[in-house]
C-alpha cells in the first residue's frame, strides 16, 4: 500500500507537470514563460541551499558556483556534440542525460567544497564557499574554450517547461522525504548539536559532505536546464549577487523550512518583475524620485526601531502585539509622503529619477537586514506546510503533526 501510494504520487507529479506545462504554454507569452522557468529554477536552488544551510546547519553562501558548474558542463558538452559536431540526438532524453551529467559535475564540486566543512564552521565556512565560487567564476572567465568573459553561446535550445517544474518538485520531494527518514534525522541532529550527535554515533563528516553533494547536485541540474533554456550563458549570470539572492530566499523563508524556501523563492523571483512592470499613468515605466526612496528608508528604519522595542519588551498577548505592528507599519506608510515633502527642498535628490526595476537588489538587502533584526528565524521559521494544518484551518480536528520540531 505504501509503495502504491508512493508510485501514484510520482505519476501524479509527472502528469501534473505536463498539465501545468501545457497550461502555461497556452496562456502565457515567451516573456512570462521565461519568468516562470527562472522562478522554478530559483525554487530548486533555494530548496537545495536550504538542505545545506537550513537542514544541516552549515553556512554556504556560494551556491551560484554549483549552478555555474552545472550550466557550463552541460552547455559545453551540448554545444560540442550538437552544434560543433552536428549530431542530432533526441532532445528530451539528451537534456535529461545532460541534467544528470551536470548534477554529477556539480556534486563533485560540492564534495570538494564540503571537505573544508569538516574543519570549518560558521563564518569561516561561509567565506570559503564564497571564495570557491569566485575561483570558479574567475577560472571560467579566463578559459577561452568556455567562452571566456564573453559568453558560452550556441548551446542548442531545448526548452521543456515541464522538466524545470519536475526538477523543482523532485528537489522538494527529496528534501521533504529525507528529513522524514532515520538518515535524514541525522542531518537535523548535526544542525542542532554536532558534538552531541557525534556522541550518539552520527557520522558528522559523512552527513555534512552528503548534504553538500545533494544540494550541489540539484543546483547543477538547475544549471543544465538554464543553459539549454537560454542557449547562452555568461560568467556574470553566476556572479556573487546570485548567491546572495538565493541566500536571501532561504533566510526569508526560514532556514530549515522547505515550504518557506519555496514561497520565498517564488516571491523574490516575482518581485523584480512586478517592479519592472509598474507603470505610471502614461504607461511608461514607473520612476521614483530620490526623495521618495530616502523617505522610504527612513520610515523602514523608524518602523523597525519601534517594532524591535515592542518585540524586546515582549508584553501583551501575541494578538494585541500583532495589531500594534500593523498599526506601526500603517503609520510608517502614512508618514512616508510627509518625509518626502520634508526632503523635497533637497534639489539633487528630488531631481533624481530612478526606475523601480533598479531597486531590486536594494529591496533584497533591506529585506535581509530587517528580517534579521525582527525575525531572524525567517517567515516560516521551522514550520512546514502540512495537510493536518489545512484541515485545522477549515475547522477539522487536530491531526497528528508531521512538522519537525525547531
Amino acid at each position: 500500500m505504501f509503495w502504491l501510494k508512493r508510485l501514484a504520487s510520482m505519476v501524479v507529479a509527472v502528469l501534473g507537470c505536463f498539465v501545468v506545462d501545457s497550461l502555461i504554454r497556452h496562456s502565457f507569452g515567451d516573456y512570462e514563460q521565461r519568468i516562470i522557468v527562472l522562478a522554478a529554477l530559483y525554487v530548486t536552488l533555494a530548496v537545495s541551499l536550504n538542505l545545506i544551510n537550513g537542514i544541516t546547519g552549515q553556512f554556504s553562501i556560494g551556491h551560484a558556483a554549483f549552478y555555474q558548474v552545472g550550466a557550463y558542463t552541460a552547455g559545453f558538452i551540448s554545444r560540442r556534440y550538437i552544434h560543433d559536431l552536428g549530431h542530432h540526438p533526441p532532445p528530451i532524453p539528451w537534456l535529461i542525460g545532460m541534467i544528470f551529467l551536470a548534477a554529477a559535475a556539480a556534486s563533485l564540486a560540492g564534495f570538494v567544497v564540503g571537505l573544508p566543512s569538516l574543519r570549518l564552521k560558521g563564518d569561516y565556512l561561509a567565506i570559503v564557499t564564497l571564495g570557491f565560487g569566485e575561483i570558479i567564476r574567475i577560472v571560467v572567465q579566463n578559459t577561452d574554450e568556455l567562452g571566456g568573459s564573453y559568453a558560452l553561446d550556441n548551446i542548442p535550445k531545448i526548452q521543456p517547461i515541464w522538466l524545470t517544474l519536475l526538477l523543482a518538485v523532485t528537489c522538494i520531494a527529496v528534501c521533504r522525504n529525507l528529513i522524514k527518514t532515520a538518515r535524514g534525522l541525522t542531518f537535523l541532529a548535526v544542525r542542532e548539536d554536532e558534538v552531541a550527535s557525534s556522541a550518539m554515533g552520527v557520522n558528522v563528516t559523512g552527513v555534512k559532505v552528503t548534504a553538500f553533494i545533494i544540494g550541489s547536485a540539484f543546483a547543477g541540474a538547475a544549471g543544465a536546464l538554464l543553459a539549454h533554456y537560454e542557449g547562452l550563458i555568461t560568467p556574470t549570470t553566476f556572479a556573487m549577487d546570485v548567491s546572495f539572492i538565493i541566500l536571501t530566499m532561504v533566510v526569508l523563508g526560514g532556514t530549515g523550512s522547505i515550504t518557506g524556501s519555496v514561497f520565498a523563492a517564488l516571491f523574490l523571483s516575482y518581485l523584480p518583475e512586478y517592479l519592472r512592470g509598474l507603470k505610471n499613468a502614461k504607461g511608461d515605466p514607473l520612476v521614483v524620485s530620490g526623495t521618495a526612496i530616502i523617505a522610504g528608508l527612513i520610515c523602514v528604519v523608524l518602523a523597525v526601531v519601534f517594532i524591535k522595542k515592542i518585540l524586546d519588551a515582549g508584553r501583551g498577548s501575541p494578538k494585541s502585539r500583532g495589531f500594534t505592528y500593523v498599526g506601526i507599519i500603517v503609520a510608517a506608510m502614512c508618514l512616508e509622503p510627509l518625509f518626502s515633502a520634508l526632503l523635497h527642498p533637497v534639489k539633487s535628490l528630488a531631481a533624481m529619477q530612478i526606475e523601480a526595476g533598479q531597486l531590486r537588489m536594494v529591496i533584497f538587502a533591506v529585506t535581509l537586514v530587517v528580517l534579521m533584526l525582527l525575525r531572524p528565524q525567517g517567515v516560516f521559521a521551522h514550520h512546514e506546510f502540512s495537510w493536518s494544518f489545512v484541515r485545522k484551518l477549515f475547522g477539522g480536528r487536530n491531526g497528528p503533526t508531521t512538522g519537525v520540531a525547531a
Binding site: 574543519r119 564552521k121 563564518d123 554536532e194 558534538v195 526612496i293 538587502a365 537586514v369 534579521m372 531572524p376
Partner: protein
C-alpha cells in the same frame, strides 16, 4: 613537476622581480590598513564585518567629493595642489568612515549581539549589499569617476639602481655617442644650408648623410636600452612611497593606542574575554564603538590614498575586491591578531604582484581565495594567530 619547472621558469624575467616585490609591499600596505579593521572587529565581536569593504568604498567617495569642494572637479583645470589638500582629504575620509562605521555598528550589529553569529553575519551581508546597490542609486557611478590627478602633487618617480649595467655595455654607449653626434651634426648642417629640404624630403645626394644619422642613432638607442635592461633597478613613485609611509605612521599610532592606553588595554581585555571584561567594569559598548571608529578610520585612510595617490577609478563596488583580499590577509595573519593583519596584508600584496610577475595577471584576483582556502585547511589559526577557529 620537476619537468615542468624549466618551462615555468623560462618565461620569467628575474630582473623585474625586485621592482614587483616593492610594488607588492606598497599594495600590501593598503590591504594591511583594511585588514586591521577586519581583525579588530573580529577580535572584539567575533563577527566578520562584511560591510567593511563598503566603508572603504564610501571613504573613496568622500575623498572624491572633498576634492571637488577643494576645486579639483572633473572639468577644472586647477593645477596648484599641495600636501595640505591631501591632508584635508585624508582627515575627511577618516572622519566620515569612522562615523559610518559607528552608525552601522549601532543600528545593525548591536541589536544582533544576542542572536546567533550567523544572524549577525547575514545582517552584515545585507548592509554590504545595501550600501553597494543603494549607493549605486545615489552616488556618481557610471561612468566611474576618478579623482582629478592634479590633486596629487607627488606624481613623479625616482629610479633606484641596485645592480648597474656591465662595464662593456656602458663602454658601448660611450663608443656610440660620438659617432651619432657627428653624423647628426653633419646632417643638421646640410639641412641648415638647404632650407627647402627636410628630414623626410632630401635630395638624392644627401640620402647617405641622412641614413648615417639614422643608423648611428639607432645603434646608440640600442646600446642605451641594453644598459637600461641589463641592470636591476626599481622605479618608485613618490605617491606610493607616501602611501607606505602614511600607513606605517598610522600603524604606529594604532600600536600606541592599543598597547599603551587605557582604552587599548580595555579593548584587548574585551577581545580576550568579552564577558569577563564586562564584569571587570569595562564599558563594552564604548570599547566596541571605539574599535569601529579606529578600524573604519584606517579603511578610510586606505581608500583616500588608493583613490588619490594611485588614481583608481571609483564605483560602488570599489570596496568589494580589496575588502575580500584584506579579509584574506587578516585570516592569513591570524584573525584577531593586529600584527598578523599587517603581516598578512603585506604578504597578500606580495603574492598578488608575484602572480602578476609570473604572467598570470588574469588570475591575480583568484590568488586571494586560493591563499584563503590553503590557509584555512593547513593552518586555520593563521600565521601569528592564537585565535582558535571553531572546530568540530
Amino acid at each position: 613537476m620537476i619537468y615542468l619547472a624549466p618551462h615555468l621558469l623560462a618565461g620569467l624575467d628575474f630582473r623585474t622581480l625586485p621592482e614587483q616585490l616593492v610594488n607588492g609591499l606598497f599594495l600590501g600596505a593598503i590591504y594591511a590598513l583594511i585588514a586591521l579593521g577586519y581583525t579588530m572587529v573580529y577580535g572584539v565581536l567575533r563577527l566578520i564585518n562584511f560591510a567593511h569593504g563598503e566603508v572603504y568604498m564610501l571613504g573613496a567617495y568622500t575623498a572624491l567629493f572633498v576634492s571637488y569642494y577643494l576645486g579639483f572637479g572633473p572639468a577644472s583645470n586647477a593645477t596648484h595642489s599641495s600636501a595640505v589638500n591631501l591632508l584635508i582629504m585624508l582627515f575627511a575620509s577618516m572622519t566620515v568612515c569612522a562615523l559610518i562605521g559607528v552608525i552601522i555598528e549601532r543600528f545593525a550589529y548591536r541589536p544582533m549581539r544576542n542572536h546567533s553569529r550567523i544572524a549577525s553575519l547575514i545582517t552584515a551581508i545585507g548592509i554590504s549589499l545595501l550600501l553597494q546597490y543603494g549607493g549605486a542609486l545615489f552616488l556618481p557611478n557610471s561612468p566611474p569617476p576618478s579623482i582629478n590627478e592634479q590633486v596629487n602633487p607627488y606624481r613623479g618617480s625616482t629610479s633606484l639602481v641596485i645592480v648597474g649595467a656591465s662595464q662593456a655595455d656602458k663602454n658601448a654607449v660611450g663608443a656610440a655617442e660620438p659617432a651619432a653626434a657627428t653624423a647628426k651634426k653633419a646632417f643638421d648642417d646640410y639641412l641648415a644650408s638647404h632650407p627647402m629640404e627636410s628630414e623626410f624630403q632630401v635630395s638624392k645626394a644627401a640620402e647617405p648623410l641622412r641614413d648615417a644619422a639614422r643608423d648611428t642613432q639607432v645603434k646608440l638607442d640600442n646600446a642605451k636600452r641594453k644598459v637600461a635592461t641589463s641592470g636591476v633597478s626599481i622605479t618608485i613613485r613618490y605617491g606610493e612611497l607616501i602611501i607606505f609611509g602614511t600607513s606605517l605612521v598610522l600603524m604606529i599610532i594604532l600600536t600606541y593606542l592599543v598597547m599603551f592606553t587605557k582604552r587599548g588595554r580595555a579593548m584587548r581585555a574585551v577581545s580576550h574575554d568579552f564577558d569577563s571584561a564586562a564584569l571587570m567594569g569595562v564599558n563594552v559598548n564604548s570599547i566596541i564603538t571605539f574599535t569601529f571608529v579606529i578600524g573604519s578610520a584606517l579603511a578610510g585612510a586606505g581608500a583616500m590614498m588608493q583613490a588619490t595617490l594611485k588614481g583608481s577609478t571609483i564605483s560602488t563596488f570599489f570596496g568589494l575586491l580589496p575588502g575580500v583580499k584584506a579579509f584574506v590577509a587578516a585570516v592569513l595573519g591570524g584573525i584577531g591578531n593586529i600584527p598578523g593583519a599587517v603581516l598578512g596584508g603585506l604578504l597578500m600584496g606580495l603574492a598578488e604582484t608575484t602572480v602578476i610577475w609570473m604572467g598570470y595577471s588574469r588570475y591575480a584576483d583568484a590568488i586571494a581565495f586560493v591563499v584563503l582556502i590553503v590557509v584555512l585547511l593547513l593552518k586555520p589559526g593563521g600565521l601569528l594567530g592564537s585565535a582558535k577557529v571553531e572546530k568540530v
